[in-house]
């Protein structure tokens, strides 16, 4: 009986630590979740004279994908984004973050362009406004401009089915 309290304390610590162990510290909750998404207005990657921005997708469910040619995870998810774009499930808008224009254009030419447009965020200012800290990052934006979900890291069909599809169907923010 004398060991009851230490054992309970020990077990509680085990629970706390195992929670911490399986929690990825790099995955930070976005402060925008359930809030109005940040806006942007910059030149398009493919047509430098054209100004594109968040106004272009207001009123519809949209996916905003932050990508760059230097980002390995972006190459990994590119095939899935192409597939998603072809399925017509949802329009995808790119933010080409801290990239080189020629290389980014070559990337789209070689791998295909799943984006309605890609905003060219050369100096990373749009990225900062969106709280981006590691590409790829993908935001699901509701028709009234609320961030329903944010995914960090490469997307794939399984993650899409599990985390995005139910939200798109329901239109509610993820917890």
């Amino acid at each position: 009986m004398r060991f009851a309290i230490p054992i309970v304390v020990f077990l509680l610590l085990v629970v706390v630590f195992s929670f911490g162990l399986f929690n990825d510290p790099r995955e930070l909750p976005s402060p925008f979740l359930g809030e109005q998404a940040p806006t942007f207005e910059v030149a398009s990657l493919t047509e430098p004279e054209r100004i594109v921005g968040s106004a272009d997708y207001s009123g519809k469910m949209a996916l905003v994908n932050v990508w760059a040619t230097w980002c390995g995870g972006c190459r990994q998810e590119h095939g899935f984004l192409m597939q998603l774009a072809r399925s017509g499930a949802i329009p995808i808008y790119g933010i080409n973050w801290r990239d080189n224009r020629e290389e980014a254009l070559r990337w789209l030419q070689q791998l295909g362009d799943p984006y309605e447009f890609s905003a060219f965020d050369a100096d990373g200012r749009v990225g900062i406004d969106w709280g981006v800290y590691g590409a790829p990052e993908t935001f699901l934006i509701s028709p009234d401009g609320i961030v329903l979900h944010k995914h960090l890291g490469p997307l794939n069909a399984a993650i899409w089915q599990e985390d995005f599809v139910p939200l798109i169907d329901a239109g509610e923010p993820s917890s």
């Binding site: 510290p25 790099r26 930070l28 909750p29 976005s30 402060p31 940040p38 801290r98 100096d123 990373g124 200012r125 990225g127 900062i128 406004d129 969106w130 709280g131 800290y133 590691g134």
Partner: protein
């Protein structure tokens, strides 16, 4: 002699690698001091155990640039921290501000210390109350 020179060279190069953000941002020493203080308080989210002062990740560079811009525009330190927290969350600050979400971070150490002190006092009291040659089993 050669190894000595090589060593000296190595040390010379190592000291150059210490400072990431060497450019003086402001002529005004007061602004410069505020700038240096803020960049020490902000976490580099790409490389989480470094401040943006110590990191050469491009994100840290971008954040330093934004902070320089805001200081130049006459923003207060709090406005700058608000800017960062609004985008990256309290995690961006090494010393998160006290709020509903971060309350437990601030209270937990004090609460644990008090709990520990309470247990210690209790044990000491019990020991003092024990007869010098008595058997502990009688207490159970």
């Amino acid at each position: 002699m050669r190894p000595l020179i090589a060593c000296a060279l190595l040390f010379a190069m190592a000291s150059a690698a210490l400072a990431i953000d060497t450019d003086k941002a402001f002529d005004d020493p007061e602004l410069q001091a505020r700038y240096e203080h803020i960049i020490e308080e902000v976490r580099c989210l790409k490389c989480q155990n470094q401040s943006i002062k110590d990191s050469n990740a491009f994100l840290a560079g971008d954040l330093r640039r934004e902070i320089r811009r805001m200081l130049g525009e006459g923003k207060t330190d709090d406005e700058i921290y608000d800017f960062l927290v609004a985008r990256y969350g309290e995690f961006a600050l090494y010393r998160p501000r006290m709020s509903g979400k971060t309350l437990v971070l601030w209270i937990a150490p004090i609460a644990l210390l008090l709990a520990g002190g309470f247990v210690l006092v209790n044990i000491l009291r019990r020991r003092m109350a024990m007869p010098m040659e008595g058997d502990a089993a009688a207490e159970e």
